[in-house]
């Protein structure tokens, strides 16, 4: 991967993070932690991997994206705004009356959102069905899905994992946001899912583990050829609340309030990162 491309992806991830902080921060409360941990993944997917057309969100040839950990919706909205799917000023309407940006993504409300999510474990099950549909019709569309490590507590994740391997869905990629925290605390204390990679491997997936904040590692994992017939799983080692000043890897950052001053300070800190 060219150095300039790496730089460009880092910058894009930084922009997603800043816009996400602004989006949730304008409201003053929201799911910061899990939004911050997926910014690099979204940057790489939307900038360098997925076939998309912001002018034509329902483009038949597009690749599909499902945010199964639906509470990170604001990070997706920031990405969609930066790519031009929705106007930038829409981000200020998060969760406001009649908004097109509900906390958890809704396919009927937001241009560029492919699947309705919110009940953990379900978006992934839908992604399995989407991918199976494209396989049945011999269509080249690919499906990308981000699930949370806490979300992997849900039994339905493993029903979907079982089915994906069985149906040989090599057009499906799941990215596990392994940030080590869930709402009530450390995942190792609440419900330990480790070793996460071995679980997905045992279910028949092609598994790679990467630093989820390293765009180059993400890009390489997403472009590396996998064996035909195997669904791809990328375990992203991430930090919940990554780069959110004062909230990084704090066990209470799942859904938290933020003052206007804290928001501006966090964004200012990221301006320095960019410089």
């Amino acid at each position: 991967m060219e150095k300039c491309q790496v730089e460009s992806l880092r910058k894009f991830a930084n922009e997603i993070r800043k816009k996400t902080i602004h989006c949730i921060g304008t409201l003053g409360v929201g799911h910061f932690g899990g939004s911050m941990s997926v910014c690099e993944a979204l940057a790489v997917l939307y900038q360098s991997i997925m076939k998309i057309d912001p002018q034509n969100p329902k483009w038949e040839e597009r690749d599909w994206f499902v945010l199964s950990k639906g509470h990170a919706g604001p990070a997706v909205y920031a990405t969609l705004a930066l790519k031009g799917f929705i106007p930038m000023e829409t981000l200020d309407t998060l969760n406001q009356p009649n908004t097109i940006l509900p906390s958890h993504c809704d396919r009927h409300k937001t241009p560029g959102v492919d699947m309705t999510v919110g009940s953990l474990g379900q978006g992934f099950g839908n992604a399995v069905g989407l991918a199976l549909g494209f396989k049945m019709d011999k269509k080249p569309n690919r499906v990308f899905c981000i699930v949370g490590d806490g979300e992997c507590n849900e039994g339905s994740i493993w029903e979907g994992a079982m089915a994906s391997a069985h149906f040989k869905l090599d057009n499906l990629t799941v990215m596990v946001d392994d940030n080590g925290l869930q709402s009530d605390g450390r995942t190792t204390d609440i419900m330990n899912m480790q070793p996460m990679d071995k679980k997905w491997e045992a279910f028949g997936w092609d598994v790679q583990t990467v630093d989820g904040h390293d765009v180059e590692q993400l890009y390489n994992a997403l472009t590396r050829e996998v064996s035909a017939g195997k669904p791809r799983c990328i375990i992203m080692k991430t930090v919940k609340g990554k780069n959110l000043l004062g909230f990084e890897d704090v066990s209470t950052n799942h859904n938290t309030t933020i003052t206007r001053e804290q928001m501006l300070a966090a964004i200012a800190a990221l301006e320095e990162v960019k410089a």
């Binding site: 399995v128 549909g133 029903e159």
Partner: protein, 314 residues
């Protein structure tokens, strides 16, 4: 008189025809395909019979994905309690909230689970499905009605639930019958009381009406096959003209057809309503006759309820 064909065979033959006509129609099962006769479609239509294994929630999310990505029309089946109770969150969100064109089929509703027993008795599927906005709920009476309904179910766009008896039912309709989804059928006219029934309870309602006739009571018999959206015109007309209602369902009386009729009428034309069905009990093992008697779902129970409802008019 019993139908010659089992309901599951009628279902499978209709599905076979639809699959021949439209390649978007697919079968999705959770390891109960043999139980509903659709297993043979796996060989007849390679790649269009998806078995999710014993994973009902995944069966429902996969169906929604198939409908949304490539416009498949999944006919998605398992036993009634498992497609409703077990996979309810998936039905509510992935099919309902996402507005996916999935045809959910729950077999062995109510006491028709028979010797599979209490765990398999679907006494609450209608209640649960009624709580999903935009869900259409249909319960066929017999082979002829199911045969005519299948093409209309296929044409209907949007979330759909059918609770289907699997075996041979009492024959109620002949080939002169014309089924219209959403439009209740008045099988017998009468002005003293109206019996509103669905599924296997329609045959009981007709027997009850005959018995009532012998006592000089003329009961109107209505088959409310489409439980949601309800044919309010027919129900309101019955309330106004008869002044007393008896509902009969193979389901818990709370929240099902009877509940739906009461909820509607209480706001527009309050009349006495007696509800026949399972009275908030868990199920148990037994043959159909035994269970229907045990839960007071026989024609004689409908006769008694009709007399009580009429008495309340005065």
């Amino acid at each position: 008189m019993k139908d010659t064909l089992e309901m599951r065979e009628v279902y499978t033959r209709a599905l076979e025809q639809l699959m021949k006509e439209d390649e978007r129609v697919v079968v999705v099962e959770a390891d109960l395909s043999r139980g509903v006769n659709t297993l043979r479609l796996r060989d007849e239509f390679p790649g269009r019979h998806i078995d999710a294994g014993i994973a009902e929630q995944d069966m429902v999310t996969i169906s929604a994905g198939l409908a949304i990505s490539v416009n498949k029309i999944p006919f998605t089946h398992t036993f009634a309690p498992f497609i409703s109770r077990r996979a309810m969150d998936q039905v509510y969100l992935s099919v309902g909230f996402s507005n996916a064109n999935v045809k959910l089929v729950g077999s062995d509703p109510g006491v028709s689970a028979e010797i599979n027993g209490g765990t398999h008795d679907g006494f609450e599927d209608v209640t649960l499905m009624r709580m999903v906005p935009n869900m259409t709920i249909f319960e066929p009476v017999d082979a002829e009605q199911l045969r005519q309904a299948m093409p209309q179910i296929y044409k209907h766009v949007g979330p759909f639930y059918m609770r289907m008896f699997r075996k041979q039912t009492e024959k109620v309709f002949d080939e002169n019958y014309r089924f219209v989804l959403g439009k209740a059928d008045t099988l017998k006219e009468g002005k003293d009381v109206a019996i509103i029934a669905s599924g296997i309870m329609v045959a009981e309602a007709l027997k009850a009406a005959t018995a009532l006739h012998e006592q000089g009571i003329e009961a109107r018999v209505i088959n409310l096959h489409t439980i949601k959206p309800m044919d309010t015109e027919t129900v309101l007309k019955a309330a106004k003209e008869c002044g007393a209602i008896v509902t009969a369902e193979n389901h818990n009386i709370n929240g099902g057809l009877g509940g739906a009729v009461c909820e509607y009428l209480s706001g527009v034309c309050p009349v006495p309503v007696k509800r026949i069905g399972v009275r908030d009990h868990f199920g148990e093992v037994g043959k159909l006759d035994f269970l229907m008697e045990k839960y007071a779902m026989k024609a004689s129970d409908i006769v008694k309820a009709s007399q009580e409802a009429i008495a309340m008019k005065k």
